[in-house]
Assembly symmetry: C2
Homo-oligomer: 346 residues x 2
DNA sequence: CTGTTAGCGCATTCAA
DNA sequence: TTGAATGCGCTAACAG
């Protein structure tokens, strides 16, 4: 009743050995470059591999060698446009070394995130990359005792762990400066969740720029969202309700900026003529929003590459200090949603 | 020099057995529900598992049982916003059965796609879900001889294969009808790659609606893109160059519609006052574009769920005919980028 | 119902 | 250099 012929059973290393007239261990050595082998045998084995179309069984290899050749990647939301390029960067960097990524998402839920981490451990991944997780530092440190960990958006230090920081605060500062230099003095901000590190840093950068320019920081011009579009729309309406006439708006991420932009459109407020709008992330869609959104570019692909590269180093047992990550600069991308303030200068 | 203490070595099934005072096989049986076990022993084992915080080694299990408990998912572009929800749907549906997805992307390249499929085979995935792949039918059929295959956007029939179709043609027809009913008679179309099945079907639906309404089909009003934003922008400029004054535009996917919308904005052509714009997919961002984009909603999440569910059935050896997939209707979402045609009625 | 015995396919000793 | 032997952790017959 069940499965009929599951097709030709897989070719095994042993068959390759037999065909090449050598022992299984020799084949294994050639496969892994574990030892020098006579050229003639290597050739014979390589031919046998090609003829049989042999592919090593990753699970058997993992069982025997204690490594699964896969590395776990924890995101909050696998379907967030923000993480996509990063995932691609990770995939690109680790796949050249024969590793495959195992993506799981925590859905912004601490318990779920812990559960997904456990799943990765059960699968014996050789390391875990955590993209701005919400697990506490202590838990992460515990994990780092068992396997290499690479984490973004946090600055932890431990033997088996590497953290990659992005200059959120500085970039937010520059974004705000951009607005100030355009002559805006009443600037509103839509921030991310208050317990989110990225959001906190961006808010801090915003505050610093304002303070430095001696501009008042009005709490009522501060709204909070959850990094999704809908919350940006809501937040903007809230801001409008204050009837404090701001002429510029700095939003903590592009998705919320889209929501805010729609709210503005609905009210007939023009961008950038009436209010200048600046986001954060530079999602692929931001170049194509109307008008194209001024924003801060996060080097998301490079971030993924860097994380994958660091993981590979860690797996090889290199100490953290040797792990060299090229600096990942955030960059202000001035497009058409911001412009010089018009009208009376205050 | 290399790895220092990799932490406490993993607890094994054998340790659990010892602790619970039973044999390993009994533990295995309890874990897999393979046979009835005396209640007292079950309890003892469950306690031991909890106390030891035991997690089965997936690789060992896979090696022994011949199943890896993971299923491969092939997409063209893991970073495409279109696939995201689908991936989530797949993850949700298969994870409840203990399976984990292995995502790989073919990057719209036949050779690469074949290579990724090979990687999945090497990892001994228990089945492969192909989201609108570009591999030819014959190759897929060959794969289906070795393992269950679920594929979208194609209608193949084979014992170990299930294909899920979405009504692209019909939906495109309805989208075009929508435009016609609004009084538009000169409608342009930006299609996807000519060798892409989805693109072909959408074009066919477009043509059918036009023919049915006795509207002329002008080839110069047909442009082609690659499903990405930039190509939409280019295509629209091409269309404009014809100086054929169309009043409505049907684009084969939302991403290209974004590009077209920007091109329109650049030329000062208003949406929807001057031209009505309709896309296809209903990406998350389409609700927040300005104006919100009229489009065809693809049930992407449900598609993923259905694909995952079908895969589970196939793995259990159920014949295809028993695989019941709820129908997945495409749906026209009328928003604000389309409106009744103004001016002289032609 | 439950314990014992064999492998699953490969990496890795240990000898030769 | 290379082959033979052993075991990774677990499932699946096979006997009780």
């Amino acid at each position: 009743m069940d499965g009929d012929g599951r097709g030709p059973s897989e070719v095994t290393l042993e068959e390759v050995a037999r065909r090449a007239g050598v022992s299984p261990s020799t084949v294994s050595r050639i496969l892994n470059g574990t030892a020098r082998v006579r050229e003639s045998k290597r050739k014979a084995v390589e031919r046998a591999i090609a003829e049989l179309d042999y592919h090593p069984n990753v699970m058997a290899r993992g069982l025997a060698g204690g490594r699964s050749m896969s590395i776990g990647v924890v995101t909050q939301d696998i379907s967030s446009p923000f993480y996509n390029e990063t995932l691609k960067g990770i995939e690109d960097s680790i796949s050249v070394a024969g590793y495959a990524p195992l993506f799981v998402s925590g859905h912004w839920n601490r318990a779920k995130e812990a559960e997904r981490m456990a799943l990765l451990v059960a699968r014996r991944v050789d390391g875990i990359i955590v993209l701005t997780g919400i697990l506490d530092d202590a838990t992460l440190l515990t994990y780092a005792q068992r396997m290499p960990i690479v984490i973004t958006g946090r600055s932890l230090r431990a033997p088996n762990l590497y953290s990659i920081q992005l200059g959120n605060e500085q970039a937010a500062y520059e974004a705000t400066r951009h607005l100030i230099e355009l002559g805006h003095s009443r600037i509103a901000h839509i921030g991310g969740p208050e317990d989110n590190v990225d959001a906190q840093e961006r808010l801090a950068g915003f505050r610093r720029a304002l303070a430095e320019a001696n501009l008042p920081m009005e709490d009522r011009l501060l709204a909070v969202g959850d990094f999704h579009e809908a919350s940006g729309l809501l937040a903007l309406n809230q801001l409008l309700d204050t009837r404090l006439n701001f002429t510029a708006l700095f939003v903590a991420n592009d998705q919320m900026a889209y929501g805010a932009r729609l709210a503005l459109y609905r009210k007939g407020i023009r961008v950038p003529e009436d209010v200048s709008l600046i986001g954060f992330d530079d999602l692929p869609g931001s170049l194509y929003s109307t008008p194209p959104l001024t924003t801060v570019r996060q080097p998301v692909y490079d971030l993924g590459k860097a994380a994958g590269g660091a993981m590979l180093q860690l797996i090889q047992g290199r100490p953290v200090s040797e792990v060299v990550i090229p600096s990942l600069p955030l960059e202000l991308i001035a497009r058409e949603s911001t412009q010089r303030r018009r009208g009376q200068s205050y």
